[in-house]
């Protein structure tokens, strides 16, 4: 399939980019060492004569240019990874719709619960981190920043959807967008947990798009949920959202794959004490009308 070859090509390009990155980094190391030496001398001997200051300024300018080059290559590498991932995603969606349409093929083995959960956790962990250039502020759908009012989720995007459960209750579930109709302003979404759940057709008001970037607590703390904020949070081994209050926002981005709560926040639910994955913020309007939210 052409998608495979394309992906292979991109992987090779990524490899090259990574090598270039390291070249750039080792090149700039020398200058950083010089800066360190100058710092030491200036601090221990208390010399801040204009000579030293000018020298330092020159070193800083060089280091700045190096850092900019390094950032730009790293961004290209990350973009390449995003490109590969989106190709993979497209492949998955194509396969899925092909599956749905053709009745002749034997039904695919539905994924086991555990596998699904692991995949979910993995995708949450590898949500790209937003690293803005100096002066850039985090965009909508980064961390706690809500989507713009005219945003339409694309096919394959994950959303929180408020659906009516069997006994008339309403529940927020994790769902994937299938399509959006501009004429009726309604989304078609699939429950992530494909076990026999049907496709839902819901109005826009019942859909909250999930964040597409993680926020870095060190550089963009304003894109995080703050303490005591009311949010919708996902239990680690389920696909439903529950109301919760933020207990502690994160201090730094954790990358360790073993972390149990790798995305944006650590949350403590009102009634239970387990930590949850927070993925989105409830919209207050839709919550006002809810009467029976299971907690």
């Amino acid at each position: 399939m052409s998608a495979d070859t394309k992906i292979a090509e991109l992987l090779t390009e990524l490899h090259q980019l990574i090598k270039q990155t390291q070249e750039e980094r080792s090149r700039s190391e020398h200058n950083l060492l010089n800066i360190q030496k100058t710092h030491e001398r200036m601090q221990t001997e208390n010399k801040t004569s204009p000579y030293y200051r000018t020298k330092l300024r020159g070193l800083y300018t060089t280091a700045k240019a190096d850092a900019e080059a390094e950032c730009s290559i790293l961004r290209r590498a990350l973009d390449k990874i995003a490109e590969i991932k989106s190709l993979q995603e497209e492949r998955r969606i194509a396969a899925k719709s092909a599956r749905v349409q053709s009745d002749n093929d034997p039904p695919r083995k539905t994924m086991r619960r555990g596998v699904l959960m692991t995949l979910l956790q993995q995708s949450a962990m590898t949500l790209p981190l937003w690293i803005g250039k100096p002066g850039e502020s985090p965009p909508p759908l980064c961390g706690a920043i809500p989507a713009s009012s005219d945003y339409v989720a694309k096919q394959g995007d994950k959303v929180a959807a408020r659906v009516k459960v069997v006994d008339g209750d309403e529940q927020w579930i994790l769902a994937e967008v299938v399509s959006y109709s501009h004429s009726t302003n309604k989304y078609e979404v699939d429950d992530i947990d494909e076990e026999g759940k049907e496709r839902h057709t819901l109005s826009r008001r019942r859909i909250i798009p999930l964040p597409q970037w993680k926020a870095n607590p060190e550089t963009d703390p304003e894109a995080l949920f703050s303490k005591d904020q009311l949010v919708l949070a996902l239990y680690p081994q389920t696909t439903c959202f529950y109301r919760a209050l933020i207990h502690t926002p994160p201090h730094r981005v954790s990358h360790a794959p073993q972390a149990s709560n790798p995305t944006s926040s650590v949350v403590q639910c009102q009634t239970r004490t387990r930590t949850l994955l927070v993925l989105c913020q409830k919209s207050s309007s839709s919550f006002g009308s809810e009467k029976n939210t299971s907690e």
Binding site: L11, L32, Y51, R57, L78, I81
Partner: protein, 366 residues
């Protein structure tokens, strides 16, 4: 500001690059691989995380570098233009020379006029050695005051006392001396008026009424508005009437005007001695006692000022006469040098100048 320890705003950040061998193992592994081995699609996630780590560290380094560089630039400009009011925003050291400030005149230290010059790294090498030395010493100097300012400051402080008297000052004294015309008004003792405790009690009452009216307003809404306003107005007018009636009676003395007159007559006849906080308002005027100083002392200052002015004028004339005498002397000396006797004209001039000077001096001394 140029104290070394106080004003070094630099933060010596540790710009160590990320130790990728330790923190980014997958990245390091990929680096080691050849083109053929390449990257597996399963490795993408870990690579992404590691690259993000590198990028965020580089990004932070970039921001810190920019911030520190800006501090350095500002500092550089601040040091070069110590006397300037606005901080140099120009980061380019080769910028065209800045205009010398007017403030420089006030500082006695002329040597530092070259200050901005040596500040630029480019021109540093061209400057004469002395100035370079001076400039590099700057950080150790205590702030940029010129070396020997004391005499200037002394004379500046003494100046108001030694300066010549001007006409303005004379005018000021005259104005002070002018006896106040409309003093009579100040001598009227105003009536005592109502005692403060009673006045406050009344005001509190009014306040409560107003608040009650306001509360009523809120309850009644618009309809009740005009009504309660009217009520309040009525109440106010009633209160005022009663007040005025009371006040006239409590005007200093509760006994009425007739009693006052009687008492005053008795006091004048020396039958009753005047009481201390007397209920009798004092009608008679006081002697012109302007501004709390005795007329004698006031006039004295004025007189002295005038005398001093006169003397100043004389002194001025003495100075002129001095110059003339000097002129005459010089002429005679010149004539002597030329080995001719001074002409009669010159001698007369010299004598005249001398005599004039003497007469002025005599006037001055008298």
């Amino acid at each position: 500001m140029s104290e070394l320890k106080d004003c070094s705003p630099l933060k010596y950040y540790d710009f160590k690059p990320v130790d990728h061998v330790r923190l980014c193992p997958r990245y390091t592994a990929v680096l080691g691989r050849s083109e053929d081995d390449g990257i597996g699609s399963g490795e993408l996630d870990t690579l992404q995380l590691e690259l993000e780590t590198l990028l965020s560290s580089a990004s932070r380094r970039l921001r810190a570098l920019e911030e520190q560089r800006q501090i350095l630039t500002d500092w550089q400009d601040k040091k070069g233009d110590k006397r300037f009011l606005k901080m140099g925003k120009d980061p380019d050291p080769a910028a065209t020379p800045r205009h010398k400030p007017k403030k420089q005149k006030l500082d006695g230290k002329g040597a530092h006029g070259q200050g901005p010059g040596p500040g630029r790294p480019k021109s540093k090498n061209l400057q004469p050695k002395v100035q370079e030395y001076e400039f590099t010493d700057d950080p150790q100097d205590i702030p940029c005051t010129p070396k020997n300012d004391a005499p200037n400051r002394f004379w500046a402080s003494v100046e108001p006392y030694c300066a010549d008297i001007t006409n303005e000052e004379i005018r000021l004294l005259e104005e002070l001396l002018k006896p106040l015309e409309d003093e009579a008004e100040y001598f009227k003792i105003p009536a005592l008026g109502k005692h403060y405790s009673q006045r406050w009690a009344q005001e509190d009452l009014l306040e409560e009424q107003r608040e009650g009216a306001r509360a009523n307003d809120k309850k009644k809404g618009i309809m009740g508005g005009p009504l309660s306003e009217l009520d309040a107005k009525d109440v106010d007018s009633l209160l005022k009437k009663s007040e005025s009636q009371h006040e006239s009676q409590e005007d200093g003395c509760p006994f009425g005007p007739l009693t006052q007159r009687l008492l005053q007559a008795l006091v004048e006849e020396n039958i009753i001695s005047p009481m201390e906080d007397s209920p009798i308002p004092d009608i008679s005027g006081k002697d012109a006692d302007g501004a709390g100083t005795s007329p004698r002392s006031q006039g004295k200052a004025f007189r002295l000022a005038k005398e001093e002015m006169h003397k100043q004028g004389l002194r001025q004339r003495v100075r002129v006469a001095d110059n003339e005498v000097m002129e005459g002397f010089r002429r005679i000396m010149a004539a002597r040098q030329k080995k001719r006797t001074p002409t009669k004209k010159e001698k007369d001039q010299a004598w005249k100048a001398l005599k004039e000077r003497e007469s002025i001096l005599k006037l001055l001394d008298s």
